[in-house]
Symmetry: C2
């Protein structure tokens, strides 16, 4: 179930490379990568899990409600992350010119399904 959603997001957005469902503790639930992607999505997820901890703290300090989404655009890779609940997030790595809006839409619509199956 998780795998098919993770695959669907990557395969339906131009420029998407890999995706992962992970706990904030850096433990992977499931991941998917395009063949020959060359992206170690576990390492990506693990690095960003630390960023997300900081984002959650910032949101709490600023009293702006829960953080829902974090996007990081770097020179060679864009990563879009959707926080699912207090324990899990889903992240998609894409090329810098990838279809960011489509990935965002797909993550937003698929997040409730992931949540349903995680709880």
């Amino acid at each position: 179930m998780f795998k098919s959603i993770l695959r669907e997001v990557v395969e339906n957005a131009d420029g998407a490379i890999a995706s992962i469902l992970m706990g904030f503790d850096g433990i992977t639930v499931e991941s998917f990568a395009n063949e020959g992607s060359g992206v170690d999505m576990e390492t990506v997820g693990s690095e960003y899990s630390q960023v997300l901890q900081q984002v959650k703290q910032a949101a709490q300090m600023l009293e702006i409600g829960n953080a829902n989404e974090v996007a990081v655009q770097a020179e060679h890779m864009t990563t879009l992350i959707r926080l699912i609940n207090d324990e899990y997030f889903v992240a998609v790595a894409m090329k810098p010119n990838g279809n960011f809006g489509k990935v965002r839409y797909l993550l937003r619509t698929q997040a409730p399904k992931l949540l349903e199956n995680l709880t």
Copy 2:
């Protein structure tokens, strides 16, 4: 100069509330807020400066080049951050339904002007 750019970004994007030009050490160069915005942009910038330090580390670890842009969407506020160089960033706070794409465009086009005047 800085003030007029920070003002321009906020005034030209629907839903934008406040903006700040800040060092990664949390020291403000300049800021602008809509009247009655109720947002303490210095605190926002300071909280996110810590997130950005973590993002920079992650980008280095993952060898994906420099981080250019970070966006955080929380329930009551979206924040878009453009990294200008190794020392400074510019951040814009907006309502959750604000014109994210327009802020992104304005920050991208104004960043070189800010950089020019910072160096």
